[in-house]
Amino acid sequence: MLEIKCPHCGLRSQNEFSYGGDSNTKRPELGKEVSDKDWDNFIYLRDNPRGKHSELWHHVAGCRQWFKVLRDTSTHEIFKTAKLTEEL
């Protein structure tokens, strides 16, 4: 069982959360010209490292806030969590 520290609510069990993937993905800026390639990359390409991964989680059965998590994909160890507005 993963135990995840929601930056708003504290340590809770994995059951209360859902996963949102790579937190470094940036949507191309609204209203600006965007090349097909940049758009495709935004939709389909994600970081997929073995080791430290910064990712988004959603406290869906709690405060319903999204936040960032720094987690090891080979051990599942969680190093740090932060609010969306904070740096990991």
């Binding site: 069982m1 993963l2 069990s13 994995q14 059951n15 859902s18 996963y19 949102g20 993937g21 790579d22 097909d36 390639k37 495709d40 990359n41 939709i43 389909y44 390409l45 994600r46 997929n48 490292p49 073995r50 991964h53 990712e55 987690r71 994909t73 080979s74 051990t75 599942h76």
Partner: protein, 418 residues
């Protein structure tokens, strides 16, 4: 190579089965090969076998960082099927099904192909309609498909919950009668044995750590047992694909995720078919030893750990108990996990790359075991001829730029994120 037959079995009985030849020899790397296949899973070994057999190229090494068959090929729940709606998938996997039918003879190795039928249960009228549509698409592609009603299913899978109080009542189901299972280890061992007998080197406990690329052309691979020269490289590393691709400056539309499965204690014959639950992600079959083999959802977060967590198993087994209430009385024997190469549209990638002599085979998601023969066959063709095979021509990497995605479930990208 010694042929396996009733006669060799009798002959070896006289020496108490102590004189059997080893099935394949472990090799140390040579300085140079024509082709190096990375990964001794099902796909890598099948590729090497068809390169040797169909294309007469035998100066090949299959390089494996762990032990042969220790990856997903030895961890999957062995379901074989071609019950797809879209043509590229239907035609590809159906050709694969035809290969399964003869694989034991082809390899002179009993892969225990068991066409016991796969049944997808439907729990609403809408789901029945979808299954009629999928079944019709399958039949148009020459794939066997039968719709079953509730009463027929009651006779075929009597232990499913047909009671009035079932949370998800069974309306009917779609069956592919030729679908079924095979012995996963035997597939790896059978391909390894035949490939090795034709001269393919199998090198275990040797990790590929990098590549030598000169002027856009592959020259060799770097491994934990030294550098090896080669003219061509095929990547068959399933959940580890992104890591090697990164060393080739490629970022792929793939995420690595852990998928768990489990088996129960063995019980008497209980279930004759492979059955999938239609109101969630759960499926099961009964092994020849009597164990219930069960699986379902991914754990749902990026992972390279070949083990998962209990909440997902609990969720999956809750669905199992909803489908077969008496499963609740069984004890679990084992659980395990494997790392899936989840592609963004749920379909595989078999292609050349921007580097001359480097070929890509990945994106199999939860369903690559059934593809082992046809994947090896088409990938061998692609490597030997430097040309994409007709059957896998829709599985190219550039579909993520041209928009020709093969999104069988119609759910968009990253279907595994709930």
């Amino acid at each position: 190579m010694q042929k396996y037959s009733i006669f060799s079995l009798i002959k070896n009985a006289f020496s108490n089965h102590k004189d059997w030849e080893v099935a394949w020899k472990d090799s140390e790397p040579k300085k140079e090969y024509d082709i190096i296949i990375i990964g001794a899973g099902g796909h890598g070994l099948a590729t090497a076998y068809y390169l040797a057999k169909e294309h007469k190229i035998t100066n090949i090494a299959v390089i494996e960082k762990g032990w042969l068959g220790g990856g997903n090929v030895g961890r999957n729940t062995t379901i074989l099927r071609s019950n797809y709606m879209f043509d590229p998938n239907g035609l590809f996997y159906e050709q694969g099904m035809k290969m399964w039918e003869n694989l034991s003879q082809e390899l002179n190795y009993n892969v225990m192909y068991s066409p016991r039928g796969i049944i997808n249960l439907a729990h609403s009228d809408a789901q029945m309609n979808i299954f009629y549509r999928r079944g019709n698409s399958m039949r148009l592609n020459g794939i066997d498909a039968v719709m079953l009603g509730r009463d027929e299913l009651k006779k075929m899978i009597p232990f499913a919950d047909f009671s009035e109080s079932a949370r998800f009542p069974i309306f009917g189901g779609l069956m592919q009668p030729r679908g079924g299972t095979a012995r996963h280890d035997a597939v790896a061992w059978g391909y390894a044995r035949q490939a090795n007998s034709m001269g393919v080197d199998i090198i275990q406990h040797c990790e590929v750590t990098g590549f030598d690329v000169q002027n856009g052309k592959i020259e060799g691979v770097r491994t934990s047992k030294g550098n090896i020269k080669t003219k061509k490289v095929g990547l068959c590393v399933a959940g580890n694909t992104s890591l090697l691709a990164e060393k080739l400056n490629m970022k792929l539309p793939i995420e690595s995720h852990v998928l768990q499965a489990c088996v129960s204690e063995p019980v008497k014959p209980f279930l004759d078919h492979v059955v999938t639950f239609g109101a969630g992600h759960f499926y099961c079959s009964q092994s020849d030893k009597g164990e219930m083999v069960m699986g379902g959802d991914l754990d749902g977060y990026n992972s390279y750990a070949q083990r998962g967590n209990l909440p997902t198993l609990q969720h999956v087994l809750t669905e199992g108990v909803a489908m077969f209430p008496n499963l609740s009385r069984l004890k679990m024997l084992r659980t395990w996990g494997g790392i899936m190469d989840m592609s963004m549209d749920g379909s595989p990638i078999i292609d050349k790359t921007h580097i001359d002599g480097v070929y890509l085979n990945c994106g199999w998601c939860y369903g690559g075991f059934k593809a082992t023969p046809i994947s090896g066959w088409t990938f061998a063709y692609t490597i030997a001829k430097d040309e994409v095979h007709e059957l896998s021509s829709k599985y190219r990497l550039n579909r993520f730029n041209t928009g020709h995605l093969i999104d069988e479930k119609g759910l968009g990208t990253k279907t595994w994120i709930g």
